[in-house]
């Protein structure tokens, strides 16, 4: 029994092998990078290519073909993730870099009324428009969404109608936002004539986009409520509707709020439907039912479309404010979900 002839496992590369190859690849690509003045992006790209060749090659020699393919795929999977992060980081960096210089107290507290030429102007009117339209859309969509979820979970359980509605809600998430805008426009044009534009139309369009998200998240939360709670309530003689209002809703309220805030953060950045149905204006308009109303995304678009340096600057400033808004909403949603999650409450 000589151990030199018996191999229980095939030879493996040490654990630190990928790290070593990565360092070597970076160094190897670093030489031409320094001499011909590549940017960091080019350097990392070249190093990645070197790694993609070297790592499987070494593995092929020591470990065999199958392990080499495995190493190659592992590398590709890591690279694909890196590639997806690149645009996100680039985009956020660009927005912060261009947006910060544009933002000051005046930018946030003035509208674009009577702003000419190189004057700075502001986004107050757009912020007010965004706030009002989003609020109106929330007020419209949340009751419908929650009641639909109640129907799906508490009443329609397993019925054909409920299955059809669940399916259509899923399909509805894919409605292009501009189609929602055109729908709201058609509705209001039919009622008030072809030139009609208003914030209310925008709210209707956003409602259509918000409902599916609210339904799906509330539905999920209602399903998480244990049946024991419902049965305990029934056993005490509480009618079904009061069980829903007093037991099921309060138990799942944190999750529902999280879902609603996420839905808001999704529609607050919508541009196309509002461009179509709410239009754009330079002044502050606080009446949802009368006249055009600018929202922040539409403001960004129209400043971008003006193709002037000062327009671009305003657009970047608006974009930074919008991104911060969306991120803050996302964060709030996560925090609410984390703090009040039902698993920890009971």
């Amino acid at each position: 029994m000589s151990s030199s002839t018996m191999h229980i496992s095939s030879p493996r590369l040490p654990r630190w092998a990928p790290g070593l190859v990565a360092a070597m690849a970076l160094a190897l690509a670093g030489l031409p990078a320094i001499f011909s003045g590549w940017s960091i992006v080019q350097w990392v790209l070249a190093a990645t290519v070197v790694f993609l060749i070297a790592m499987p090659l070494w593995s092929r020699v020591v470990e065999g073909r199958r392990a080499a393919v495995d190493r190659l795929v592992t590398t590709l999977v890591w690279v694909s993730f890196g590639c997806a992060m690149a645009p996100l980081i680039w985009l956020l960096w660009v927005v912060v870099k261009n947006g910060l210089p544009a933002i000051n107290a005046d930018f946030l507290s003035y509208s674009m009324l009577n702003v000419v030429g190189e004057e700075q102007g502001g986004i107050l009117h757009a912020l007010i428009g965004t706030l009002l339209i989003t609020l109106a859309a929330t007020v419209l969509s949340v009751p419908i969404g929650i009641l639909t979820a109640i129907y799906l979970v508490e009443y329609g359980k397993g019925s054909r109608a409920a299955r059809v509605i669940t399916f259509l809600v899923d399909v509805m998430t894919g409605i292009p936002s501009i189609v929602a805008g055109l729908f709201a426009l058609s509705l209001f044009v039919l009622l008030f004539g072809p030139a009609y534009r208003s914030g209310a139309g925008g709210a209707v369009a956003l409602t259509l986009l918000m409902i599916p998200t609210v339904v799906r998240s509330s539905e999920e939360m209602f399903r998480l409520v244990p049946d024991d709670l419902r049965e305990a309530s029934y056993a005490l003689g509480v009618p079904k509707w009061r069980t829903i209002v007093k037991v099921v809703l309060p138990t799942s309220v944190a999750g529902i709020v999280t879902g609603v805030v996420l839905a808001i953060s999704r529609v607050i950045g919508e541009t196309a439907p509002l461009l179509v149905v709410a239009g754009a204006t330079d002044g502050i308009n606080t009446n949802l039912f009368d006249g055009r109303m600018t929202t922040l995304p539409v403001f960004i678009y129209s400043q971008y479309a003006s193709s002037t340096p000062v327009g671009y600057q305003r657009a970047w400033g608006g974009a930074l404010v919008l991104i911060v808004l969306v991120m803050v909403l996302n964060l709030i949603a996560r925090i609410i979900g984390r703090i009040f999650s039902p698993a920890k409450g009971h």
Partner: protein, 318 residues
Amino acid sequence: MTATVSPEKAGPETTPTSTRRGDRTFAAIARLAAFTILVALVAVFVFLAVEGWSGLTAVPAVYAPFTSFASYIWPLVVSTLLASAIAVIVAVPFAIGIALFTSHYAPRRLAVVLAYLIDLLAAVPSVVFGLWGGRYLAAYLQPLHVWLHEHLGFLPFFGPGPPSPNGRSLFTAGIVLAIMILPIITAITREVFLQTPRLHEEAALALGATRWEMVRYAVFPYARSGLVSGVMLGLGRALGETMAVAMILATTPQTTLNVIGTAQPATIAANIALNFKEATPERQSLLIATGLVLFIVTFVVNFTARWVAGRSQRKLDR
């Protein structure tokens, strides 16, 4: 609690009739809300059809520079399909890679954070993507346009005309769309990857499979229909995405397969957004009619995607 309620007091306080009335009202309201959604979907179709009908059969002048609805929408359809095809072709390999990364490759604790980062990509508003695409990405990709034209110019997609001098082309728009649809394809693909039975995976590993062989022979076959529906949902998004495309392209009314040329043929959605401000009532009807076409196409794509997903779900449940 400590105090016990006496049965005589607790029982008859709510009379059966009032309970039943409350229950019935509440159930009716919930049902009404649910059917509002059905009505809304039908209403979208009906109102677009009513308002867009006159756009289908207007006098030829409305369709300038074309003369009929079919010839007006044809170039838009072609560029919509081209941009979406680019987006899907670019996004799908990355999405599968990322989904695998977060489901099977990344260290467990990291995976949650990384999935959140991908979700962050979905949270970026499309108008910001458009701003970035128009001001930065287009210029950055311009050399790639030249390279593609020089080396693959014999293909109808990259020739024969000169490449775009500023990078604002269907190709750039397609890349931006790819980034935008990446999160949804990733999310759905990841979900189906995670549903692979652990026993299948462990059986593969126990037989001596490498991790890649395990993925290939245990995870992929299981996830096939989920993949299909994820890709189709991504396609639906790409078809209907408006602002990012509108901010990169102009509206050249021209049918061309060349995705990197100087012509900037808009997609259906972008064409609506770009032309709406100056539209006359007749023109407005025409744009609504194109919106109806877009709605029907995306509805069919999404419907099929969900149907495939639902069917595979039922198969798994069995």
